[in-house]
Every structure is written in C-alpha cells, then in structure tokens.
Symmetry: C2
Subunit: 204 residues, 2 copies
C-alpha cells in the first residue's frame, strides 16, 4: 500500500491545508450547482469549457494514481484523498470525526443534493459510507483495523440535511473488534450499523 512520509513541519502542513481546503470547497460547491442549475444552455456550455480549461491547468503537474496515505515526520496522517474525510476530495462531505475519553466517536454532517438517493432522502449507499468510515475509525482508535463485515439496518429514510452519526466499541473477541453505531436526524435513528473489524495480522 502507498504510505508516504512527507518531511514537512506543522507550518508547511497548515500552509497546504489553507491552499487545498478552499479549492476543494469550491469544487464541492460546483458539484452541487451542477445538479441544481437551471440556467440557459449557452451558460452551461461556457461553464463546461471553463471547467475543462481549469482542469487542464491542474493536470499540468500531477501525481500518478490516488493520493495514498501520507504521514508527517511527527506521525500526523494526511488522508487528503480519502472519499470519507479527504480535505482534497470533493466527493467527501468531508466527515470530521470527534471522540471523547469514554470512547464515543461521532460526526455531525449536513448532506445536500449531491448525496441524494430516493427523492429528498440520502442515498442508502452514502449512509453506508458515513457509517463505514465512522465505525472503522472507532475500531482503529487503538490500532489499525480493517472492515470484515458491515451490517446496516435501514429503519426509515434519512432526510437530506443535518445529521449526526455515533459509534462505540461494543466488545472485543480475540482479534475481532465489534463496533456499533447509529445515524440520526433530529427525529431519531434512521440507520443502525454494526461492524466487525479485524487486525491486519489475521486478514486473509
């Protein structure tokens, strides 16, 4: 797997965050506008040409393949290409995962038009993306673990808008860690999730 060490200090990391964060936020906003726009055909064509030209400028120098996972000399991870949390990934909402001393992990996120499945509702697969990422982070809070099995119970539709997901380790069984969690809107739980996570040593 592509783990890269970047010999940069905190100041340089902050500089890059301030550089790439706003670009990615602008692209996220463009993704949303592309779905919702009703402007005339001429404007659509003009914007398309603009986007193609802008992309060519970015591609003048670029890495091969995915961003991979990078670490600073201090061991801080830079998962900026990640589809769940990536600072440079406009597909990622991005999720910001918090935790407390009791082991509860949670994220609060507002999902808009780009995450729609059934009309007005979050796509079931996007609910799965949020829960997979949150449960995986929870399982890996002590040491890295990979998803073995993920089970999602959809209790009702999850409306687009502000949501909260929570997770905690339920129990450990040998090298397996079982994590449970929920996705909720302000009326309560919409999706229940359970994940079985496995340490790398026992992975097939």
């Amino acid at each position: 797997m592509k783990f890269t060490r970047e010999d940069i200090d905190t100041e340089e990391l902050d500089r890059r965050r301030a550089l790439y964060g706003p670009l990615t936020a602008a692209v996220r906003d463009l993704v949303d506008a592309t779905i919702r726009t009703e402007v005339d055909e001429a404007v659509i064509r003009e914007v398309e040409a603009t986007v193609v030209a802008a992309t060519a400028k970015l591609r003048a120098r670029q890495i091969d393949g995915g961003f991979g996972m990078r670490f600073t000399a201090d061991g801080e991870s830079i998962a900026w290409g990640n589809a769940g949390i990536g600072l440079r990934n406009a597909i990622a909402p991005p999720l910001v995962i918090e935790s407390d001393d009791a082991g509860l992990h949670w994220t609060e996120v507002t999902l808009g038009a780009a995450y729609e499945g059934p009309p007005g509702l979050v796509h079931g697969g996007i609910c799965a993306l949020v829960m997979d990422h949150l449960l995986g982070t929870t399982a890996s809070s002590i040491e890295p673990r990979f998803t073995g099995t993920l089970t999602l119970r959809y209790r009702r539709g999850t409306p687009l808008g502000p949501l909260r997901a929570e997770a905690r380790i339920d129990r450990n069984e040998g090298r397996k860690t079982i994590v449970v969690g929920t996705l909720s809107d302000d009326l309560g739980v919409t999706v229940e999730a359970e994940g079985i996570f496995i340490g790398p040593a026992t992975q097939n």
Copy 2:
C-alpha cells in the same frame, strides 16, 4: 417524496442529456485533478477563483434542494441527481446498470483517485454504495422496494481500477426480497453483499 412529471418528449430528453452529461463529466474530471494536482500555489488560487465564478454563474437560476426523481410523460425515470447513477451528479461514478432475461444485474465501473480509502484501495463505503445501488435496482426490477438490511463481507481490499459488480434475486419471503451480489476485480471477489428489501407497504 419529490416525484415530478416532466412533460418532455424523447428528443428534449436527449437534448438535455447531451447538455448536462458533458458538463458533469468535466466536473468529475476536475474532482480527480483537485486531488492529484501538484501545480504551484498561484495556479491553484487562480483555478479556485475560476471555479467560484463558474459556480456563481450556474447558481443564477437553480432549483431548491435536491434534484428529486422525475418522470417523462412516457414513464421514463430521470434520476439525474442520484449519488449512484446520476447523469448530473459528479459524485456518482456514474454506475450504468445492465441486466439480462435471467434476472442477472451487473455494472462495470472504473473507480479512480476520488474513491480511495486505504492507499490504492477503494473506500469500503464506496464499495457499499456500489452494492447498495446495484442490489436495490435488482430488488426493484419488478416493483419498487426499499433497503431493509444490507450486509457486506469484505474478503480483501478492492483495488482502484476496473471493477465488476453482479447481483441477482436469491429468494422472496412474503414481502421481503433477498438479493445477493459480489464486487470483483480481475483476480476475483473482493466483497460479498446480501440485501433484504421490503415493499413500501410494509415499511415502518
């Protein structure tokens, strides 16, 4: 839920497809370049300003909220905002789902940098998005059904690149339809999925 009938004919539908498809493809390409670019700060800033201005042009006239689900007078569905298959959604790969007379449903898709989780591998939640959408479409091939439970077994990491997902109805139990499927790379199965789908009438 937001179901809208659009009084447009096939010709107008084709015109819109040819208008919005290329715009969205350009935005997808920009999402990828945003992750992978290594150009200088000045170019990044310039592209950011260009994207912000382009987005403002698109937002001059736009719908409120999500795209919803629309139908033509002929009953053809227009799920263009959908996070799995949406023609206007740059988050969607987009999936193109095919089926045969025997009930097999499949999709072939190439997932790049924007879908990364662990280095070089597809994010587990993106695997879930693909399988949720494919299994849901398979379950709904006769009448609409909603996901009750989705279980994903991750057998090994799914590499970024060309993938194939397949699904078929395993059995019906009353109003429940059980669908099974797999996600595979050219070396074989990476993820197994099982979904229990429920007709709207029995949903809570």
